[in-house]
Symmetry: C2
Subunit: 333 residues, 2 copies
Amino acid sequence: MAGSYRVWTISDPGKNGTLQLESRQSVALGPADVRIRVHAAGLNRADILQRKGLYPAPPGAPADIPGLEYAGVVEAVGERVTQRRVGDRVMGLVGGGAYAEQVVVSERETIRIPDSLSDVEAAATAEAFLTAYRAIFLVGGLERGQWCLIRAATSGIGLAAMQLCRHFGCHSIGTGRSLERLQQVRDYGLDVLAVDGDGSLPELVREHTGDGAQVVLDLVGGGHLQDNLDSLRTEGTHVLVGIMAGPKDSINLAPVLFRRLNLRAMTMRSLPLERRIAMARLFEERLTEGFVSGALRPVVDSTLPFDKAPEAQALMESGKHAGKIVLAMNETD
Amino acid sequence: MAGSYRVWTISDPGKNGTLQLESRQSVALGPADVRIRVHAAGLNRADILQRKGLYPAPPGAPADIPGLEYAGVVEAVGERVTQRRVGDRVMGLVGGGAYAEQVVVSERETIRIPDSLSDVEAAATAEAFLTAYRAIFLVGGLERGQWCLIRAATSGIGLAAMQLCRHFGCHSIGTGRSLERLQQVRDYGLDVLAVDGDGSLPELVREHTGDGAQVVLDLVGGGHLQDNLDSLRTEGTHVLVGIMAGPKDSINLAPVLFRRLNLRAMTMRSLPLERRIAMARLFEERLTEGFVSGALRPVVDSTLPFDKAPEAQALMESGKHAGKIVLAMNETD
């Protein structure tokens, strides 16, 4: 049943490492665990930071195996498992370890794959959509009819965010470096396009929203903080989920205080089990229906074979993708 | 019953104004309102910013009368008032208008003055203690046994915060510019003193707390943000309630993201009626008992006659006070 399986490990965790393929022995199943044969694993920017030694794995996750999301099929269940059976198609988030042919997780943190999604699509879904949902609705407090500024809109999380905004009755403004790329993604749900450097972003935001955006979803970080804060309405929230442009910036605390702005940060990778379980349950209750109806759909830029993890990471670092990059096991390649 | 009363008005709201004493006609009482004969009014830094045209009054508050907190006695009640009677001693927060011999407010936003407090003490209580309570517990999420960094500890809000920390089973570290002034206030509840410029604050915080402070209560603002963020534990919250040292600072977003720190801002002055009412009810439910027992006590630095409002503001601007400055009406002076 178990046996050995292949994983990508980081040569030298904590330093600027390289990926290498290794063989591991399957671990024993706990009573509430399921073993999943991974069919596809989505890439995330955190994987690259982790390989470079800049972003150590959270407590409880394997320190040396990257990978935050998987899709596959249940191949064994612990003795007290009640909700999942061998053969079920499931996907989910992990704190690490998804660049692997197998993962062992608690049954409660798995998400049933909507029938409308292939394995590759499923592996491109959980991290982007749950990050975006949590950031804009749970952390940012976006409500029906309000505006979200998505920075940058062409990122995997940005593409999920604009779909969620439209699906839940909200409006979005998306920033990006090129008008052409923004036009390519606008049909996923962007109401307004904002090309970086084309005049004042806060003015543009106010022109469309009236009093400003309730939420700024920020994957870019350094260099834009003042524009982001100035684009918020009073008591709005800037949610930081990435710092692709670097970490350094300046800040004027006067508008923060007088307009009671919030700057919050979140990562999914750090979630402890009970909160990962809550997010998995939220997905099935709030999002599955949107994938079934076709209102929500993951955006896959590229699919590479599992053996090509280093090439997949190089593609992500090139910044030339729009949407998710997925590793697929041989049998589904 | 009503007649005329005296108020301090700002000569030229929106510009760098001066205070002048005027006479106003009493306004009609709404059915749920009470008219309060003000015996004392507490000063707040916002009053000075408002006079200078830097901090316009919130919607619904008088644009030209400063003053955020009063203590006095009910002298008339609207026809549907049920909880307050003529003669009741009450205090409370308003969005403006407390530099006056009368205020008219909803009965629900008044707070019964604990018998242990004089009028002057009561006028020094609501803003400091409710700001501190809301900042550290409601916004910051401080829990029993956790640590709060109070910056600066000798401010009126700082003095309230350290008492609340001790009263609710939490620990506090207070910063200040002089060891002598910190030593003068430590008995109100400070566990650790941190003199500005005496070595690394984050190191000192970690030495005492282990993993950092859950909350930084910040009245100082610009120039200290990095130290404040570095003093927080993972998922801790920096609560900005003042910017006495100015608004400009730099920020490194990497620790904000990777340690999931929160930067939040709040003011009491901007609270709409329903939230002021909630704070008044919270005071009676959570704080009154502490004032009755003596565990909590306002710290009054100076009491000046009502006629000396300009001098009182000058004293506050001098920064030489430790604790609240209160204007007292003639009859209680």
